[in-house]
Point group: none
Amino acid sequence: MTRPQRRVGAENSATRTLILKTTEELILEQGYGALSTRRVAARAGLKPSLVHYYFPTTDDLLLEVSRRGAEDSDRMIEEALESDDPLGALWELLIDTSRTAMALEFMAMANRRDALREHMAEHCRQMRERQVEIFRTLIGDRLEGPDGLPPEALSVVLAGIGRAIIMEENLGVDCGHEAAKAYVEQWLQKLAPDQSKVKNAEA
Amino acid sequence: MTRPQRRVGAENSATRTLILKTTEELILEQGYGALSTRRVAARAGLKPSLVHYYFPTTDDLLLEVSRRGAEDSDRMIEEALESDDPLGALWELLIDTSRTAMALEFMAMANRRDALREHMAEHCRQMRERQVEIFRTLIGDRLEGPDGLPPEALSVVLAGIGRAIIMEENLGVDCGHEAAKAYVEQWLQKLAPDQSKVKNAEA
Amino acid sequence: MTRPQRRVGAENSATRTLILKTTEELILEQGYGALSTRRVAARAGLKPSLVHYYFPTTDDLLLEVSRRGAEDSDRMIEEALESDDPLGALWELLIDTSRTAMALEFMAMANRRDALREHMAEHCRQMRERQVEIFRTLIGDRLEGPDGLPPEALSVVLAGIGRAIIMEENLGVDCGHEAAKAYVEQWLQKLAPDQSKVKNAEA
Amino acid sequence: MTRPQRRVGAENSATRTLILKTTEELILEQGYGALSTRRVAARAGLKPSLVHYYFPTTDDLLLEVSRRGAEDSDRMIEEALESDDPLGALWELLIDTSRTAMALEFMAMANRRDALREHMAEHCRQMRERQVEIFRTLIGDRLEGPDGLPPEALSVVLAGIGRAIIMEENLGVDCGHEAAKAYVEQWLQKLAPDQSKVKNAEA
DNA sequence: AATGAATGAGATTTCATTCAT
DNA sequence: CATGAATGAAATCTCATTCAT
């Protein structure tokens, strides 16, 4: 909930928003290795100094992009819960190309950027907790049992499969992806049969 | 199988090997964002020009590191097959911290480096094919069936879970990891009961 | 006596005074190389533009700090004359760490700032003149003679010794400082025996 | 005695020497505030990157200039001892405009540069020690006594007066300088009458 | 009286790469 | 084999200053 202290410029400044948007695009299209304040400026049609006016350091910029991404992510999860097929909607989020690709880039960046790593770790923990709650509610005790998959492990498994697919897509590899997705989807339906029946009935 | 055309210096030169080793260390310890030929040189106690003598461009260097990594990986997979518990040994490879972390760094690099991406994609496809063979041999038709997990999907799933765990470890997050690992291991034992019985008998 | 033409803002504005005080602190603590209007603003908790509102250019700011320092210095000299031991009190001023350190920083700055140099030179000359008057009054003809030290030379000598001690203190060197101070003090007492007797009698 | 570890380029490279010489000139002519690697390059007719090739950081450059200055200074002191009037020759060194001005600039720089400060402090201490030896030899016990000026204090006093004169010259002030110099010179002759007689006889 | 926005200049440093020896 | 020299490009960041409000 803490707002960035080093923020310069109004929260809603068009320029500020443009810089954040451009940064996201650049990272998504060319990878984080292509990111530089100069390039952000060039692409946004701004002077490099203006980028530094709004975000004194590159860390400030990335942290803010990360924060916004985290907020978006949180919001989308809650929206998914409103749908007829919450589990399916959550899974959709996990294999959403652009968002997951962005998350992967940030993982790589976190290696060298302490502030970023800390923020991402914190958000990762919060998200896992929230997902555990969600899985408990939606799936209940069907997960538990001697051979069961505890909800936090389910969260790890789904995130992992989603990310693998996105990463390999980036490479241009797709072998096994459709089959893996199909398996997961079928599995999720078995885990929460009631909701899926509702959805099917409507369709 | 194509050998690098631009390679200079004897294949087995100690200096050449030192450069490759140092590059790996640097990437592993500080992430690919910290990689530069200058830093490699400094860390190895060499002059920057010498690095370029062996590897004219950074791409040449990275490609060679990637090649060696791929060869190591292939070899380790074949070694795993020799063990009492091939499936378990394969899984161990997939959650081996340093190797998987390295693979993730290379995934990020591949974004901007065409030659690297091509090589990695090719190796990724080959590895999947080989794993499919392996799974067919070890698990056979227990995977197939109406709700079954085809071997190429199993490959995707296992790789994904392994990578997710390593990535989160990098962030300092470990919630759900043990449970996910335990689940996978138990699952693998169920898929290939015979080999695991052999192993259990020995233990 | 000339007032600054470019001054903006009320002479006694609290903000204005804060800026001047902060500038002094910054120079004293970190040396003039660390001075910038941005840093002054940051340290004072003000916006950079506000500093420029009061002092359009950095020269304006420094000139005003210099002026105030000169006024302080003049006042302190006159106060010293009121004491029982005027010569001793003057000497105390010359080895006062913070004031002399500041003067040294301004000497360095004057190199590149014409307006500042002119102001400092003028004040330096005035101060010398005043000290000559003072020494004539306090010491009289005891200074003159074939081997004598004319009062303007005494002023140079005392200032020099004081500054040397302060400069070396800044470096962390103190060898010879106490002995030099002791010698000067003893010397001053010999030059003006009457006033020192008065002081001793009181003690 | 320790040689710089980070030195790049041959000790006697013409380019290296040119950079050092240009740096000295720039500092002397415009003060340390005017120093930047860019400006050094421009004035020397070199590309900025070449300056950084020889001196990776500005600190490296300044440290080397400081080291050379210290060596020069040491050498000149020993040369002064060879003259007919060693004390006079030492005093000449202390009021040598360009060398003392440079020393003053470095004092100001030392404020913000730890490595530089440490080096200068060390050299300052060594120089004081050496001067103490010299004064003991040349002046002997004429300095001691109840009201005496110990040799280390003499060193402080002479250095201080010399510096004050140089600093004020920089400002364009000269009042009292000739008188102060004359007084010091006369005083030194009294302290070491024998050597000065020799000199006078020769003249 | 104060401030947000903007900018051009410049500083320091890093980098991959080339080339002559 | 190896290296010293050199370079152009880029990155990050700081700065003083201006201007409109």
